[in-house]
């Protein structure tokens, strides 16, 4: 996973994280807890795991997949690539 943050001033931050570290059983468990706490969506650990599995499959299937790209009106830019 690669997170790119570019400020209008020219400052650039690149964060590269191994996919295995971001998408695993432990993060699925944390995500599940966080979703249950902060939204009315009741997902089970099994469902969260399935979602993580699907994310990993999508990453393999769509090479260089850009999940989110945000450009603010004041020139800041954020990109998340899986």
């Amino acid at each position: 996973m690669k997170i790119v943050v570019r400020e209008e001033s020219g400052k650039k931050i690149n964060i590269v994280l191994p996919t295995g570290m971001v998408l695993n059983r432990l993060t699925a468990w944390f995500a599940c807890k966080a979703i249950r706490k902060h939204s009315d969506l009741k997902i089970t650990r099994k469902q969260a795991l399935r979602f993580i599995k699907e994310l990993r499959r999508c990453k393999r299937r769509h090479r260089g997949w850009k999940l989110v790209e945000v450009e603010s009106s004041d020139g800041d830019y954020v990109e998340i690539k899986l």
């Binding site: 997902i43 469902q47 979602f51 769509h62 989110v68 945000v70 450009e71 009106s73």
Partner: protein, 166 residues
């Protein structure tokens, strides 16, 4: 290759306008129009949208000389040519009125799993303009072969949201 000046001159003649008429409409001198048409100078960037409007073309057509592609927004793909839904991508494009741009690319396989988990559009996109859009219906349309710009919403505060499937 046709230059911008030649394009302006040709389009002006097609509209049966004189250089003086065009100059008057754009509030510039006739000499300025003459210089554009002879490729000695280019029109000011702030005049280009108005110039394109007067000449009856889009800014893109005026600058590039290519006619805008008139592709239909939504296409129906025949059964034999349809891709596996898991290979398709759902693009959510949000252009807010204050100039923010958001692009979210979600593989349809992932959207399918998210919907089975009970997620709905606001939880996927977080944008109010898409609150009432039923993603299940979008998926159903894709299953029946529809691709392209399936949804386009313009909210009252000027945000434009598009859902594009490819």
């Amino acid at each position: 290759m046709e230059t911008l000046g030649k394009r302006i001159a040709n389009l002006r003649r097609e509209k049966e306008l004189k250089q003086d008429d065009l100059a008057q409409m754009l509030d510039v001198s006739p000499q300025a129009v003459s210089k554009w048409e002879n490729d000695q100078t280019c029109p000011d960037i702030s005049l280009v949208p108005e110039l394109a409007k007067i000449l009856g073309v889009t800014v893109d057509e005026l600058l590039s000389g290519k006619e805008a592609l008139m592709e239909p927004a939504v296409k129906m793909v025949p059964v034999g040519e349809r891709k596996d839904i898991k290979d398709m991508m759902l693009r959510i494009i949000v252009d807010s009125s204050d100039g923010d741009k958001v692009r979210v690319n979600l593989p349809l396989g992932l959207v399918q799993v998210a919907l089975e988990m009970g997620m709905s559009m606001p939880q996927v996109s977080g944008n109010d303009a898409l609150k009432n859009i039923d993603l299940n219906q979008v998926l159903e349309m894709v299953r029946h072969g529809a691709v392209g710009n399936l949804v386009e919403v313009e909210s009252s505060d000027g945000d434009i949201v598009q859902i594009f499937v490819e």
